[in-house]
Amino acid sequence: MAEIRNYTMNFGPQHPAAHGVLRLVLEMDGEVIERADPHVGLLHRGTEKLAEHKMYNQSIGYMDRLDYVSMMCNEHGYVMAIERLLGLEVPLRAQYIRVMFDEVTRILNHLMWLGTHGLDVGAMTMFLYCFREREDLMDCYEAVSGARMHATYYRVGGVYRDLPAVMPQYTASKWHSKKEVDRLNDNRQGSLLDFLWDFTERFPQRVDEYETLLTDNRIWKQRTVNIAVVSPERALQLGFTGPMLRGSGVAWDLRKKQPYEVYDKVDFDIPVGTNGDCYDRYLVRVEEMRQANRIIRQCIEWLRKNPGPVICENHKVASPARESMKSDMESLIHHFKLFTEGYCLPAGEVYSAVEHPKGEFGVYLVSDGANKPYRLKIRAPGFAHLSAMNEMVRGHMLADVVAVIGSQDIVFGEIDR
């Protein structure tokens, strides 16, 4: 009889299902996985070290590049840490704008996840559908910050500027006829809030559409039900947060339990799974999209009624208006000081966490009183999730690895930092 030996297989880093640059070394017994050893760090850019050499405001842009599919939530965690240490009060309107964009970001992230997860498991259509909706939300990002992805919109003390009253329009060209452009511009006639409101009107039906494709789909269920079951106890032990923890049946959401900004003033529910398998995590995330939609609508209603400042008046940390710099000497000095030296934080340390689409995104900031952080530690949710990879895939088939990676919602920008 021939001798059967275990063999090791290399998965990635150049594999479309590796979601970037994951390298997995799998020890296989036939087609069953005995051990998985993820090799990470291929995207390590030393963000934390770079931040130690930059003024506080200059690092906001680096935060976008951590988890590059949920940009504004990363910024949120970072600016909140600084605000907490400074004891800075953020204007109410800015808080609502932040909450609204956090939820826009959550939908963006979950759409990206749903599309790629579907693609990995074999549902090509999902990818195309999800990217159709993402386009509208990216336009919101662009309208408010000028960038479709790396927005740098949240600033210490508020947000960069108020929501625009007009949406950018498409113009007719060689490739787009007048008729086509008119159709595209149809819902862009009003302000950003009108555009977003129109989106929230349509979005629940779109989620239904995704669900008709997947939720009762036999292939989808065969690929995800009872795959990588994690018990609530293990989920806590392994440091799971966000949808991964809730999928295992632990009702823990920082937005509810430790509310920040105005999350205690908006109405929403937290979905919780029961079995802790890939299918439950899918259901949790889909429901989160619906809830995010609800929060956005509440924010829009509030923002329409309540104009006001969107960044604090303390010009030691927030730049004065460009207009006032032309006539006011003090504003000019503040502007000059802010951009040549920055501002100093009191010596101390702070840990601030936000409910990022992937889980708890924490920023631990140590300051020695200088204008640059002494140490910045980013607690990325994906890092803890990926470390559980070995436990989650052990005993499963090779094809299930792909489903597990998809269900963990891995993005390497934040894991490797």
Binding site: L236, C344, G362, Y364, D368, G369, N371, K377, A384
Partner: protein, 200 residues
């Protein structure tokens, strides 16, 4: 923000006695400074005692205090160079506790808490990789984020931002080679510490 109530802090003081060297209550957060030798005792108690029940270890982070306060009037802060900071979360009571352990300068070593919280595994590997902190009895203490065959611990304060070596493709040898870095590190904005109330 969500810090443990005073009774819990008092209970910790009583329970741990000499294990704790300092309790810091600042910026709405509580930090317990623990003697290095008793990390395991304290952590196990924090997890299992229903008074604390910190079910989750959120984060482990190394800190290098080599240059702490270098630009200030008082100069560099005296004291141990390395520290490990643990962030714990209690879901039951809804609060966070931070633990800091100062380590020896020569051979920074501390007991691994993998046996208490499984999530410590990769966090400790990261702290080892970045700071060279050794975690005793860690099941698999390998480098995690840096390149295969990397030398040094990049997040230490005496490690330059630009690193020591750079990589390029050598067309003659037809392979990738390492060579000393050719870029000069430069600082556009110097680090300053201003006294309180500076600039009005």
């Amino acid at each position: 923000m969500f810090k443990p109530p005073q009774t819990v802090i008092e209970h910790a003081r009583e329970k741990f006695g000499d294990y704790i060297s300092n309790v810091i209550d600042a910026a709405g957060e509580v930090t317990l400074e623990i003697n290095r030798k008793y990390v395991l005792n304290v952590c196990r108690e924090l997890r299992d005692n229903p008074m604390f029940s910190c079910e989750q270890l959120t984060d482990i982070c190394g800190v290098d205090y080599l240059d702490y306060g270098k630009e200030s009037a008082a100069g560099v802060k005296e004291g141990p160079r390395f520290a490990v900071v643990y962030h714990l979360l209690s879901l039951k009571h809804n609060y966070r506790i931070r633990i800091r352990v100062f380590l020896d300068d020569e051979m920074p070593t501390v007991d691994s808490v993998v046996g208490i919280w499984s999530s410590a595994n990769w966090y400790e590997r990261e702290a080892f990789d970045m700071f060279g902190i050794l975690f005793q009895d860690h099941p698999d203490l390998r480098r995690i984020l840096t390149d295969y065959g990397f030398v040094g611990h990049p997040f230490r304060k005496d490690f330059p931002l630009s690193g020591h070596v750079e990589m390029r493709y050598d067309p003659e040898k037809q392979r990738v080679v390492y060579q000393p870095v050719s870029i000069e590190p430069r600082t556009l904005v110097p680090r300053v510490i201003r006294e309180e109330g500076y600039g009005g």
